[in-house]
């Protein structure tokens, strides 16, 4: 498999979905639930996956996030998100 292309439409893989993790004290974190595990998501990772709705293309997601992180080199943003999605795809948590 290859990294996402501009036309890819990243989404959560079958059987992977958002959930809430509640810590003692009632603090809630958004998590991605997948078979036998979960990813606690904060910050950038959370933002990226919230954009991966199966509708937006990879190119659109990148454009939106480049606006969000205007101070960072756009090519670095693209490379980081591409790697992030590719690794989650290998874990079968994301499809594109």
């Amino acid at each position: 498999m290859a990294p996402p292309t501009d036309a890819s439409q990243p989404r959560l893989a079958a059987g992977c979905r958002w959930g809430q993790s509640t810590k003692a004290g009632g603090e809630e974190t958004r998590v991605i639930l997948f078979p036998e595990g979960a990813i606690k998501l904060q910050g950038t990772g959370k933002l990226v996956l919230e954009h991966c709705d199966g509708q937006r293309t990879f190119a659109e997601i990148i454009t939106e996030l480049q606006k969000e992180f205007g101070k960072t080199d756009p090519e670095k943003i693209r490379a980081d998100i591409s790697l992030f999605l590719e690794q989650l795809q290998k874990k079968r948590i994301v499809d594109y």
């Binding site: 059987g15 959930g19 810590k23 003692a24 078979p35 606690k40 904060q42 990772g45 290998k90 079968r92």
Partner: protein, 380 residues
Amino acid sequence: MTQSVSNPLALIAEVTHRCPLHCVYCSNPMQLAETRSELSTEEWISVFQQSGKLGMLHAHFTGGEPLARADLTELIAAARAASLYTNLITSGIGLNEQRLKALVDAGLDHIQISFQDSQEDAANWIAGAKAHAHKIELSRVIRSHKIAFTVNLVVHRQNLDHLEEMIAFIEQLHPERVEIAHTQYYGWALANRAALMPTRAQLDKAVATIAAAEQRLAGKIRIDSVVPDYYAKYPKACMGGWGRRLMLVNPAGKVLPCHAAEVLPGLSFENVREKTLDWIWQESDSFRRFRGEEWMQEPCRTCDRRTEDFGGCRCQAFLLAGDATATDPACSLAPKHHLVEVAVHKANGTSAVHQPTTSSSFAQVQKLNADLWQYRTNPE
């Protein structure tokens, strides 16, 4: 002493011990809970509700064969309603299209089909298109639903030489995951250890086969595998540490920190019929018994790895070394490691080897996101 305890992450719901199979490596206790003592539908529903409130994320339905429970659909729905991710671990025997649809409609997130070879020898397993026809058909039906699909393969001395063909067969079923689990030696498997333990040569070949398959299937099928602990340098962090991540409720409502915990002498376990899960997690002697480091002996007590593997498996320490607080004899640093070396030596005349590999790709995502966690549900 007050212990600061974080909440459990997953429930292992052993909903029945009834099972149509008789696997030689079964990890279930040799004393099985009888049908008439099984928790009722309402009692299980309460367990799921309590689990959700405790902050657990996953409910793993296992057994026995969970499909033997006529109310399984209702139980899945209740677990999902309690915000739990639902995982069904099954042989698939007795699962037809209609029942699967009902389970999916009830909120099933993930199905894990295990391949047994209790009735077929290894050669038949490969040639046994007939024996597997049902699973091939079942896989097709599973793929028509939007749920995660894992195939679980239990490997041991008798079938490990056929691993490559087994993986090739499973590929046709199009799961997202294959879990290759070496038999671990508890219950029946300990009694049958000599017949089940692979040789070093078999293991080396299997490691190479898995590495090649991981590369070939990257992005299509993820392969999770673990080296059998008798051949590893360090022990496994059994269940992610005693009373640290998981709670197991057995068919009769007894709450255990792991599958095998009932073999340990001097421990008694609470029942959901009498106590809440919250109390059992926080307060019970059984869950507190091997938390923290107070109980550890040397070399664990001063070992740098004690926060990673927690001294290994308490049940294995007891079963092999006769002392539940001893270092797991699977550890190369254990005073009683010779017990494992003797078993390995008998299996192939060489001494224990360094752990050749762990599942490779996981480390990469962990670097990206330190908050990712994963555990294994069964010590098998």
